[in-house]
């Protein structure tokens, strides 16, 4: 229904374009006068006036449908003591009514056993509520449709009376358009603010439960201790002292990240050098896109590969040479992540190496250097800032990467620098904290935002350094 309403809204606005334009033309010909703006602009004017507010209202109605549903069904006339119910009780009853609403309009003879018992267990008021709920969809849908025919038409007709030959709508229309596009560019800033504030607010809530120092400097991580905690006023911070220590997650992240960089740096740099300096254009044209495919493969695929192929393979290999490699070792996750990062390193470094001006190469050859000597002694030093920048960007990718570690790394925190042992990462713990019940009042959930904040800050710093380094380098040759 709501999509029908949206379609109607667009149809009505489209109609108003011609309505406004024709009205302007009629005025023009009947008065034989010059219009202040081009006729089309009267049409645009009406469309903007009709469409913008209605779109906002439509979106609002779409999103808050469940809220309206609840208001419609859970009325105090049906449930007199509604105001005293706790949230969990309300949720339970709502759930029951939702299930009931699916069967309440079916004749009793057609019901299956379980459905009948549900029906018999329900009170009269619950049954009425369920009937209301069953009819809500169509009532709501149709009322939205009616609103979206009537509202725009009334607004449009009222505003169209303003049109006369002296009304210059063009500046107005252009102003509205410029403001719309200005608003769009501000949204990009708003997203950053949104990230920052939603992380900060929830993190502050988290630090009401857990000491700041305990979080950043404690070395044990057992979030399950927070199961019983429900309110910030009564919490005993000593209980949570050992529950949320960030250090093992940080070391785990760095461990997996270093394994990844250990794979990606040499391979990425070697391929970049080969493709930029040695390969014939033909080889380059084929190999470069294929390597870049690695960057386009979704990370969930790498995770699956790491957990299902790489980890068992490594474990088997370890068993055969007598080393104990855990099935959830940081090594497997790190290797897969390294493969994923190769193209980031290789294509960025490739660009940088190719942008080193040719006279540098020729000068080196003229002095008798071989190609590899030229690359090692002249080109790489010249390209170093750019290559460093690409490394930093790759590291920040590795730190923020989620799916590979969620699927292949361990969930249990382990303070270790041995890549053969299981380790957990910041991103893994964010996902673990949020899968299942999300309660914004429990530190077990809230810790995800604190972890997210640390992740955000870490990657931001790395990116800023990378950008600064790359920029400085670029200025050298331009």
């Amino acid at each position: 229904m709501q999509y029908l309403a949206l379609l109607l809204l667009f149809a009505v606005s489209y109609g108003f374009f011609y309505f406004g334009k024709n009205r302007a033309l009629k005025i023009k010909f009947s008065n034989n006068a010059r219009l202040a703006s081009l006729p089309d602009y009267y049409g645009y004017f009406l469309v903007l006036i009709v469409l913008l507010p209605s779109l906002l209202i439509w979106f609002f109605l779409l999103i808050y449908k469940p809220t309206f549903e609840e208001m419609y069904v859970m009325t105090p006339t049906l449930f007199p003591d509604l105001a005293n119910w706790s949230d969990s009780k309300l949720g339970l009853i709502l759930n029951k009514i939702t299930n009931l609403s699916l069967i309440v309009n079916i004749p009793e003879v057609d019901l299956m056993k379980g459905q009948l018992s549900l029906l018999n267990m329900s009170s009269e008021s619950e049954k009425i509520a369920a009937k209301n709920l069953a009819s809500f969809d169509s009532i709501y849908g149709w009322s939205v449709v009616v609103v979206f025919i009537l509202l725009p038409i009334i607004i449009g007709l009222l505003v169209s009376r303003l049109i006369n030959q002296k009304l210059n709508v063009q500046p107005l229309v252009e102003k509205i358009i410029i403001n719309i596009i200005r608003l769009s560019s501000i949204i990009a800033i708003l997203i950053t603010f949104g990230i920052f504030f939603s992380l900060i607010f929830e993190a502050i809530k988290f630090f009401q439960f857990v000491n700041f120092m305990d979080f950043f400097f404690n070395t044990s991580w057992n979030p399950n201790r927070a199961w019983v905690i429900s309110s910030a006023e009564t919490v005993d911070k000593e209980v949570l002292k050992d529950a949320f220590g960030w250090i093992p997650l940080l070391t785990g992240t760095l461990l997996v990240g270093s394994v990844a960089m250990f794979v990606a740096l040499p391979l990425g740099l070697a391929s970049a050098i080969y493709l930029a300096e040695y390969a014939s254009p033909k080889v380059r044209d084929i190999a470069k896109p294929i390597i870049e495919i690695l960057a386009g493969i979704p990370t969930v695929v790498y995770g699956f590969f790491a957990a299902l192929t790489l980890a068992p393979m490594l474990k088997q290999f370890g068993d055969s040479v007598g080393i104990n490699i855990s099935a959830e070792s940081a090594l497997a996750a790190g290797l897969a992540m390294g493969v994923m990062i190769i193209p980031f390193v290789s294509s960025l470094s490739d660009d940088v190496i190719r942008s080193v001006p040719n006279p540098l190469r020729e000068g080196s050859y003229a002095l008798g250097a071989t190609k590899s000597e030229t690359i090692k002694k002249v080109i790489l030093p010249a390209a170093l800032p750019g290559v460093m920048g690409s490394f930093l960007l790759a590291i920040s990718r590795a730190i923020g990467e989620t799916m590979i570690v969620v699927m292949a790394a361990s969930l249990r925190a382990n303070l270790t620098f041995n890549p053969l042992e299981p380790a957990t990462t910041i991103t893994t713990q964010i996902v673990t904290a949020l899968i299942g019940d999300v309660e914004f009042t429990n530190p077990k959930t809230l810790v995800a935002f604190a972890l997210g904040l640390t992740l955000f800050v870490m990657t931001l710093i790395l990116n800023v350094i990378a950008v600064v380094i790359v920029r400085k380098y670029r200025e050298k040759y331009e």
Partner: protein
Amino acid sequence: MSNIKKRLSAERRFKFYGQVGVFLSLLFVSLLIIKIFSTGSGAFFRTTIETDIFFDPELMNVDQNSSDKEISRASFEKLADGVIDFNFKNLSEDEFIKIREMYTRRFDYQLRDYFLKNKEVINNTVTLEISASSDLDQIVKGNYPRNVPESQRKINDYQLTILDELTSKEKIGSTFNFWFFTNGDSRDPETAGILGAIMGSLYALMICLVFSFPIGLFASVYLEEFTKPGKMTDLIEVNINNLAAVPSIVFGLLGLGMLIGVFNMPFQVPLVGGLTLGFMTLPTIIIACRSSLRAVPPSIRHGALALGATKVQTTFHHVVPLALPGTLTGTIIGMAQALGETAPLLMVGMVAFVMEIPGGPLDPATGLPSQIYLWSESAERGFIEKTSAGIMLLLLFLIVMNLAAILIRRKVEVKW
């Protein structure tokens, strides 16, 4: 002289390292693809058992005069049990249960669906290809080893002898697994399908597109055409570049904290997932749109302005239409990125077990990558195949989208 030899061999070594680097990278790509395709291709076929079915009216609560509605509500459990007795005579209770386990748990549904279409079969015997259970399917496909002790097998010795008997009678067959493309998720691997996840991803991508394309295009038009260099522009510019490098999981936290926590939007729905993906792709789209707007030569702007067009007219009548193919390419690539993202979907709850196929962006749903994640976490062997098949579909979509972007770039993009 020896010095030159040394230098030349160092040269050869260096070149060799480079070749090894490229070779290993290419090896990884092919290894990954081969592994996925070899495990995944099995999921497109499903093992069936040719079974004689006697539609015994005494075992059914319906007859050929029953309406479709009555039939679809009736239970066919008894008939399914009867069919097993009919095909395998003189079974003990234990043997009966073991044989029932060889068939899919949805045996009765298959019978019902057949009866719905062919009501005249009542009191007659027909031969149908009934789907086997996932464990049997895996053993027929050779994914389970047969030569291990019985306790380590999902299929016991008795079932194996029956299987061999059926195989020798050529009753074990294989059909194309349509269920994989038409069903939602299921607890049983043999009936689990990917359509629900595809629809969930489709709705999320639609929302993502509707949000990020207009806003991205408008924002880049504003930044390229209407601002003068200044502090504000610099701020927006730095901002967008930083946003492009923020990890996707942080965008997921934004979706959870802002959209669900503050604005009270529902959990698990593609609308929220799509908006979150939209936040994430916005910087990509803005960067692509800006570079294609920048590629439009200034002479076009000057021409329009010289003829008396206003700034808005110049931009929207001349510059934007010329830049549109480039912006479309960038948008498609952004959408492809969004399709493969899993972490934001996990954060906004699009990883639940959802059997129904979502009918709109406000129904609970999973996405394609999150479905892959869900299946990969499942303990049953049959789901490994499904996971790989899901990945194959995901990669296929990505390839199609990227090819479309390349084609658009080649065909439509204007070269100046």
